[in-house]
C-alpha cells in the first residue's frame, strides 16, 4: 500500500478544481456511470439482498468510483487521485481484525463474512448530548455493566460551568478532556476498567481538542478507538489528515467514519450503496483505519431506517464482507424516541439488514440523536440482544422478518414516536429503573417479537 506521506502529498499535487466542478464534473456523472456499468439496481422492495453477484458488482463499482473520481481536499482544492492498482492493493491489505481493550476486556473485532454464524462484536452507546455530569456517569456505568458488551460509544458533555462550549474554543478542549475523564470513570465504576471506548472523541470535533483529550493522562489508550470523519461526499480536509497523521504516529486504532447522505450528491439507494462501500475502501487507503463506522443517513428525515437505506447499508456490508472484510460497525440513526416501540422495531429491521450481511452490532441512536439524555442502558442491552438474535439468521431468512418489522414503523417515519429521557426512567440515587410504563413497553415488545418468530433472548 502506498505510504501515508505519499497519501498526504496527493492532496498537494492533484488537479486543482473547485468543489462544484468536482461534484458536477466528476463525482455525480462518474457515480451515475459506474452504477450503469455494473448494473446496480434496487428493486424498491427488497431490504436484505441475497444476490451475491450484485454485492460483488457494488464492490467493483466502488473501486471504479474511487479510481475515476478521486477524493477532494477542501483545504487545497485539489483532487487526490489513486490508481486502480493502488486501490486494489489497499483492498488486499485492509485489516480483517482490530484489537481493542485492556486486560481481561481485550478482544478482537473481526470483519465478518455474509451469513456468518459467529458471534458479532457488540458495540453500544452513542455520542448523544448529555446535560448533567451525574447522568453522564450513570449512563456510562450502566452501559459498561452490560456483560455481553465488547465496546462503548460514550455520550458527549459539552458544557463547562453551565455553559455550552463553542467549537474551536478553549472550553471545547476542556469539555473534551472532561468527557474522557468522566467516561473512563463511569467505565471504572462498572468494574470493567479495560473496556474500550471506540468513539473517541465525541466531544472533540476539531483536531486540537481531539489530540489534546487523547493524552493518556486523561484515560484514553491506543487500544481504544478514535473516529476520523470523511466530510460528505468524498471530501477530506487538513484537519482530518492531521488526525490521521497523529493517531497513526501513536499506533492507535482509527475508526474511519462516513455518513453518505441519501438524497444528497449520491442520489438514491444505488448511489448510497456504492458510495458507502467506497468509503470503506477510502478508510483503509487514506485513513489507515482499524475499523469503520458506516453511518448512511437520510438527508431529509435524518434517520437511517427507511427501506432504501436499509437495503443500501446492508449492501455495503455485503460488498465489504465478500471482498475486503474490513471490520465494520453500522450506526443506526433511528427516528423513534428512547424506549418507544418504534425505536425497537427500527432496531430489529436494521440488525436483520446488517448482521447477516457481515456487519457487527451497534445499538440504536434514538430520536435522530437530537434528544439529550436519551441513552438508556436498558434499551442498549435489549438492542445488543436483538443483534445477537439477528446473527442466527441467514440473509434469506432475515428478509421476511425485516419486511415485517419495517411495516410496523413505516407510517411513522415522518413523525416518529417520542420516547423517554434518562431522568424519566431511572432513579438518580439508586440507579434503578422506576418507570413501569417504560419497563412494560420493552417487555411487550419482546413478546411481540417472539410472536413474530424473532426470539430475543435476555442476556
Amino acid at each position: 500500500m502506498i505510504d501515508l506521506i505519499e497519501v498526504f502529498d496527493r492532496a498537494d499535487r492533484g488537479p486543482l478544481i473547485s468543489d462544484q466542478d468536482y461534484y458536477m464534473g466528476r463525482f455525480v456523472p462518474k457515480l451515475a456511470k459506474v452504477i450503469l456499468r455494473h448494473r446496480i439496481q434496487w428493486d424498491k422492495k427488497t431490504i436484505v439482498n441475497t444476490d451475491d453477484d450484485l454485492a460483488d458488482r457494488v464492490f467493483q463499482a466502488a473501486i471504479d468510483l474511487l479510481a475515476e473520481t478521486g477524493v477532494y481536499c477542501s483545504d487545497t482544492s485539489r483532487v487526490m487521485e489513486f490508481s486502480r492498482d493502488e486501490i486494489l492493493r489497499a483492498v488486499e491489505q485492509a485489516p480483517r481484525e482490530a484489537r481493542f481493550g485492556e486486560g481481561r476486556e481485550a478482544k478482537t473485532m473481526y470483519g465478518r463474512s455474509v451469513d456468518d454464524p459467529s458471534r458479532p462484536w457488540i458495540h453500544i452507546g452513542g455520542g448523544i448530548y448529555t446535560t448533567d455530569e451525574q447522568i453522564y456517569l450513570d449512563t456510562v456505568e450502566g452501559m459498561a455493566a452490560i456483560n455481553i458488551v465488547d465496546s462503548l460509544s460514550v455520550p458527549s458533555i459539552l458544557h463547562l460551568r453551565g455553559k455550552d462550549a463553542r467549537v474551536r474554543s478553549p472550553q471545547e478542549l476542556l469539555a473534551a478532556i472532561k468527557t474522557v475523564i468522566l467516561a473512563r470513570e463511569g467505565i471504572r465504576r462498572s468494574g470493567r476498567s479495560g473496556l474500550p471506548i471506540i468513539n473517541g472523541i465525541s466531544a472533540a470535533p476539531n483536531a486540537v481538542s481531539m489530540i489534546a483529550a487523547a493524552a493518556p493522562q486523561f484515560g484514553l489508550r491506543i487500544t481504544d478507538g478514535f473516529l476520523i470523519d470523511f466530510l460528505a461526499e468524498m471530501i477530506v480536509n487538513y484537519e482530518a489528515l492531521e488526525k490521521v497523521a497523529y493517531f497513526n504516529s501513536i499506533s492507535a486504532n482509527i475508526g474511519s467514519t462516513s455518513t453518505p447522505l441519501f438524497g444528497g450528491y449520491a442520489g438514491g439507494a444505488e448511489g448510497v450503496a456504492v458510495l458507502a462501500t467506497c468509503y470503506l475502501i477510502m478508510g483503509t487507503l487514506i485513513y489507515r483505519g482499524s475499523y469503520h463506522y458506516n453511518a448512511p443517513l437520510h438527508q431529509n428525515l435524518r434517520l437511517s431506517s427507511t427501506k432504501p437505506l436499509l437495503w443500501a447499508i446492508g449492501m455495503s456490508n455485503q460488498a465489504n464482507a465478500r471482498n475486503m472484510r474490513y471490520p465494520t460497525v453500522n450506526l443506526p440513526y433511528l427516528g423513534g424516541g428512547a424506549g418507544s416501540r418504534m425505536y425497537h422495531c427500527e432496531m430489529a429491521a436494521y440488525m436483520l439488514a446488517v448482521v447477516p450481511a457481515g456487519g457487527n452490532i451497534f445499538s440504536g441512536h434514538p430520536a435522530k440523536s437530537v434528544e439529550p439524555d436519551s441513552l438508556l442502558p436498558w434499551d442498549h442491552q435489549f438492542h445488543a440482544e436483538i443483534g445477537l438474535a439477528a446473527a442466527k439468521y441467514t440473509r434469506r431468512d432475515a428478509e421476511p422478518l425485516a419486511q415485517a418489522f419495517y411495516k410496523k414503523y413505516e407510517a411513522l417515519l415522518r413523525s416518529p414516536e417520542a420516547g423517554f429521557r434518562y431522568g424519566e426512567v431511572y432513579d438518580l440515587k439508586t440507579k434503578k429503573i422506576v418507570n413501569l410504563e417504560y419497563l412494560r413497553m420493552q417487555e411487550d415488545v419482546r413478546e411481540e417479537f417472539r410472536g413474530m418468530g424473532f426470539e430475543v433472548l435476555p442476556s
Binding site: 461534484y23 458536477m24 455525480v28 451515475a32 477542501s74 448530548y129 458527549s156 459539552l158 455550552d164 462550549a165 463553542r166 467549537v167 474551536r168 471545547e172 466531544a203 470535533p205 466530510l231 460528505a232 461526499e233 480536509n237 447522505l261 438524497g263 444528497g264 450528491y265 449520491a266 442520489g267 438514491g268 448511489g271 438527508q299 431529509n300 428525515l301 435524518r302 437530537v370
Partner: protein, 225 residues
Amino acid sequence: MEKEEQLDKLRDAMKELERENVVAYTQQALDAGLDPLEIIDLGLLPGLTAVGKQFENEEIFLPELMISAMLFQNAMAILQPRIKAMGVAARKKGVVVMGTVKGDMHYIGKNIVRLLLEISGFEVHDLGVDVDPLKFIRTAREVKADIIALSALLTTTLVGQRDVIEALQGQGVREQFKVMVGGGAVTKRWAEQIGADGYAETAYAAVEMAESFVGSGVKPERRGI
C-alpha cells in the same frame, strides 16, 4: 404556435431537465414576442416547481436539483437583457442571505435549501460555510434581504446561530430580518430559546417558511417553532 403551447413546452422541458430544449424553447418564446416575465412565471417557474415536488417525493435527488438550477440560470441569461431593456425588474419572491455558521464546515443540507429556494423564485446569497456572524448581517443589509437563514450541523456550532441573532439585536436591526434556523443539531426547543423566527426540519419546510415570511408583503407572525 400558440402562446400556451410554447409555455407548456418550456415547462415540460424544465420538468424533464432537457438541457438543450430549455434554452431553445426560451429563445423561441422570446422570438415569438412573449413577455419575458410571463416566460418566467408561466413557463420556467412551474417547471421548477414540478422539479421541487419530485425532489420532495424522492423521485429525484440533489444532482438533478443542481441541474435544474443551472438550466434556470441558462434561461435567465437569455431573458435578462430583454427584461433590462424593458426597464423592469424580474419578480422575485424575496431575498435570502444564508450560510453555515462559524466553526461548521457542513454544507450539503444548506446547498439543498439554497437550490430549493432558488427554484422557488427567491434571490439567494449563499455565504458558504464557517461564516462570521457579522458577515451575515453586513450582507443582509447590503442586499436588502428579507430573511437570514442559518445552518448548523453540530451541537458545538449551534451557538453560532445565537451569535447572529445577538449581533442583530446589538446593532438594533433584529426587526428588519426574519431569521430561520435549521441543520442536524437544531431542534424546535433550541430555535425558541435563541429567539429565531422559524425552525425548519426539512429543506422543503424551509422553503414553505420562507414563502410565508415574505407572503403578501406583510411581515408574518412568528411561526414554525
